[in-house]
């Protein structure tokens, strides 16, 4: 019986994963299994039955025309074209998204951390013996530089994956062999990704707890300032983990036509990925606008932990809403 399945697997391994091909495979497998069962009941040995089933199977080339034609027919009816991707293209796509995930999350981290030099230098200017104006200038300069690098990353590496925009709406066709490998790879990464998300949540909570405890202890202001810097560093690290895990997961979903990228869901839905860019830009605008308007840099950094937690919340709500819509 296993011999029949592996024979069928080998026959189909290089065919694209389309509904027509899947259906052909299922039907052929069903017929072969039925025939095998009957031969066994008629007293044939396993070897004899397998041999006869395979000998009488025929030739897949006979189906090539039907499968090819039928997929073209369904393409004509369906605006959602299939995009066939080779193994090389899949690898290139995965490394391109991994690179842009690293760069974008680094950009977000820089924006979140942009207030840290300013807060530290303003808090410590008396101890360091710096003039008020000079301290402000250094802090603001560092802030603007970090924000500029962050925005540069958003724009450049956001555009780097633009040539894969077609994957937003079109289903991807890869060979069943490659699909099996990708599923396995994703399974292996799943545990690691869950740990990264958990680590991020713990980091934010620990940072908030630290600020709260030090605030309650009424220690010298310098400790409070340091703890705020530490909190922002925790938030930056956590958010960059969220972004990288999310983008990696979405890349797999796109390749495998799973999650938010099944045939039905690909037809126009709001995705976290498209929401992320504008979201962090908005957070940045709110932060800079508020800070420059009030000049209260020692307090406005609160935008970042709130934005980080909200990002996680909104992502979870969006995901849950999408699941509800379809079930």
């Amino acid at each position: 019986m296993d011999a029949i399945l592996s024979y069928l697997n080998n026959m189909f391994v290089n065919l694209p994963d389309t509904p027509e091909v899947r259906r052909a495979r299922e039907e052929l497998q069903q017929m072969m299994e039925d025939k095998y069962q009957e031969l066994r009941q008629a007293g044939k040995t396993d070897n004899e039955a397998v041999g006869q089933v395979i000998a009488e199977f025929g030739n897949l080339e006979e189906l090539g025309e039907e499968l090819g034609i039928s997929s073209q027919v369904s393409d004509a009816h369906d605006p959602q074209k299939l995009i066939a991707m080779s193994e090389g293209e899949v690898q290139t796509y995965l490394s391109a998204t991994a690179l842009s995930a690293r760069k974008i999350s680094f950009g977000v981290a820089l924006c979140i951390l942009s207030a840290v030099p300013l807060i530290l230098i303003k808090g410590l200017q008396d101890r360091l013996g710096l003039a008020d104006n000079l301290a402000s200038a250094i802090g603001l300069g560092a802030l603007l530089l970090m924000v500029a690098i962050g925005v540069y990353n958003f724009i450049v590496y956001g555009a780097a994956t633009e040539r894969y925009d077609a994957l937003e709406r079109s289903l991807v066709s890869i060979t069943p062999g490659l699909r099996t490998r990708l599923l396995k790879e994703r399974e292996v990464e799943h545990g690691k990704n869950a740990r990264r998300i958990a680590l991020g949540v713990v980091l934010i909570l620990a940072g908030v707890a630290l600020v709260a405890i030090l605030g309650a202890l009424e220690l010298a202001e310098v400790y409070l300032i340091l703890s705020v810097g530490l909190l922002l560093a925790c938030v930056a690290l956590a958010v960059s983990q969220f972004i990288q895990v999310g983008m990696r997961w979405e890349a797999f979903d796109k390749l495998l036509n799973t999650g938010d990228y099944t045939a039905e869901r690909r037809r126009g839905n709001s995705q976290l990925e498209r929401f992320s860019g504008p979201y962090w830009m908005l957070a940045l605008v709110v932060y800079l606008g508020w800070s420059f308007y009030t000049g209260n840099w020692g307090f406005t950094w609160i935008v970042w932990p709130i934005a980080g937690v909200l990002y996680g919340l909104i992502g979870a709500i969006l995901g849950a809403a999408q699941r509800d819509n379809r079930s």
Partner: protein, 111 residues
């Protein structure tokens, strides 16, 4: 042994014949073709499936899911009115083919 070339034009007729009275599924059709032909012809699985998809696209048969006693979900095929018309067309074609080919058969032929 029948060459697959000579019988290719008539796989549809064999399948439709078996569907005239009741719907059926892949392996049952395959088994009944073997029995009906007195074990002289076994239709390959790929030939059978290729004929299913072609005839379904042409509207001669329809597929639907049915459950057998064993609880397995199977694809069943039923003949449509268009399929019956096609079957009757193929019968006439076969009569003609037989008449024509018969004219070239020398029944007392010895090598």
């Amino acid at each position: 042994m029948i060459s697959s070339d000579s019988i290719r034009g008539y796989t549809d007729i064999m399948i439709l014949y078996l569907l005239l009275d009741a719907p059926s599924y892949g392996y049952e059709i395959s088994r009944r073709i073997r029995e009906q032909s007195k074990e002289k012809y076994v239709m390959k699985e790929t030939t059978l499936y290729s004929s299913f998809t072609r005839m379904e696209q042409n509207g001669f048969i329809e597929s639907f899911y049915g459950t057998e006693t064993a609880g397995k979900r199977r694809t069943y095929y039923r003949i449509t009115p268009v399929g019956r018309a096609y079957y009757s067309e193929k019968l006439q074609e076969w009569q003609l083919t037989k008449e024509v080919v018969d004219q070239f058969i020398r029944s007392d032929f010895k090598e």
